[in-house]
């Protein structure tokens, strides 16, 4: 019973969504497309695809020879993976304990963690600097990993608790009857919370990779810069070398866009389940 009105409505819906999707993606495409052009090509026809005359990989070449791009990438990778793994391990242990052991102060501890979802951790920066100085962790990647882990734990724990609650008690009892210790019982339930772990990993990684604040303050030296900070300074240094700039920006964005497109379902699940309750 598909009426004309339905068809018109569906057309309008698609038209609007295509418009907004273009608005979302076109600016990024401008950067990516222009990064493969010469300077003249960029300024001559900024919205044209590269042709035989304007195509050039010179920008990328200069990014790799002049900047510390490889180092920056490595740093971002170490910090992001390190913090995500630490968050996953600590949050799994805590979320399991919070749902499994009905001790009297469990709700209190759980509430204390959940509060952190809303706490603006950055406002504690001055004491964090003092702690890092006294622990001699200033300008190290370890400092970043510690802060990011602390920042990511609340949402990770809240998320994982909803998944652990859904694990049938019988499975854990069976494991214990078979003589499994508590840690072993936890690992037996892990496959059942795997979607939760994926959701946590994807919501944890994104803000860490893109953060500018803590790299600027806790790890600003050339050897310890993450890619976001590195690109930010690159923008300042190479303001006249547009191909290199656009190349650097493209390289900084690509890993996260790819990761997001691959894991978008888990990411969106994590985001909406974590806060939208």
């Amino acid at each position: 019973m598909k009426s004309n009105r339905d068809r018109a409505g569906s057309l309008v819906t698609h038209a609007l969504l295509i418009f907004f999707a273009l608005l979302a993606v076109a600016p990024i495409l401008v950067i990516v497309v222009n990064s493969f052009k010469t300077t003249q090509g960029i300024f001559g026809q900024p919205f044209a695809l590269p042709n035989a005359e304007t195509f050039s990989l010179g920008g990328y070449e200069r990014v790799f020879t002049r900047g510390q791009f490889v180092t920056n990438y490595g740093n971002s990778l170490i910090v992001t993976v390190g913090s995500t793994v630490a968050t996953l391990v600590l949050a799994t242990l805590a979320a399991f304990a919070l749902t499994e052991y009905k001790v009297r102060f469990a709700p209190l501890v759980g509430g204390f963690f959940v509060l952190g979802i809303m706490l603006p951790i950055r406002l504690g920066t001055v004491p964090i600097i003092k702690t890092m100085i006294s622990w001699q962790l200033m300008d190290t990647l370890v400092a970043l990993i510690l802060v990011y882990t602390a920042m990511s734990l609340p949402l990770a724990i809240a998320l994982l608790m909803t998944y652990f609650k859904a694990v049938p008690g019988a499975i854990k009892e069976a494991a214990r009857i078979d003589g499994a210790g508590e840690l072993r019982t936890l690992t037996i339930t892990l496959p059942m919370v795997r979607p939760g772990l994926a959701a946590v990993a994807s919501v944890t990684m994104l803000p860490i990779w893109n953060d500018l604040w803590f790299p600027l303050i806790l790890a600003p030296s050339k050897e310890n810069q993450t890619v976001t900070l590195g690109v930010q300074q690159f923008v300042g240094q190479f303001l006249n070398d547009y191909p290199a700039l656009l190349g650097a920006l493209t390289l900084g964005a690509v890993p996260l866009i790819v990761l997001f497109v691959v894991f978008s379902r888990q990411f969106i699940q994590g985001l909406s389940a974590g806060i939208g309750k």
Partner: protein, 292 residues
Amino acid sequence: MNRAHYRYFLAFTLPALAVYVVFAALPLVNSIWYSLYDTDSGVARFVGLENYVYLFTNPTTSERFWNALTNNLEFFAIHLLVEVPLGLLLAALLTSGRLRRSTGLYRTLLFIPTTLSVVIVGFVWRLIINPLWGLVDFPLLGDERTALPTISLMSVWQYVGIPMIFLYAALLAVPNDVLEAARVEGSGAWSTFWRVKFPLIAPQFGLIAILTYIWTFNGFDLVFALNGSAPGPNYSTDILGTLFYRTFFGSSGQLSDLDLGATVASVIFLIILVVTAAYFGLLHRRLRSYEL
């Protein structure tokens, strides 16, 4: 109660608790503590509220503070008034039941800007609105009146995916039999949305508003990426985050002052805390669902 349970509970939660307390919870509390001290001479000296008195009575610091607070309110208002309705529109379109397999594709494309770093967002938009290119014939970022709204809209462009996803999830959770009943009664898509779906997702708006508030009053990255730590023109894009950074880190023409930095942080924390506590205390008890 099983005593072993206490032991396991402690052993399993302690690592997370330690990291969270030392690097997140305690620093926030300590900020307030440090704001009551003067450490300029190298030795910490308790000065009570002196740092606060200085912040609000020194002509320069107080002018900068009120300027940043006003700008921050504008930054928040633009997010609330543009980002949230736009997110609702997108979520409504995605769940209108008129798309089939394309829903996932649209959802992913619309969310991509949120995955970008502010460095790219700032750069690409500065490029697009560059008067030299002729797309906009006016220096939007160079004029005191338009600079902050322009940056706010860039930020809306980047983060509209967040309210969109929250509302999308809420709209998906509307029970099918409710929608079926509306359909049987002959209700069209427009009236089904406003009469059936919207009232069911309305509670989400309070939460989105408060998260937007916390997030915008914690803002820094995009402004810094575009305009640095003394954001012009003439501080017209200075918000509390950049003011805080400039105070404790220093900038050209301003020495770093950790005590005053902790003071600014405590004031921002208070601004966030009062509104958030009022929201959760008086209007909602939403966090309840997390209790055991």
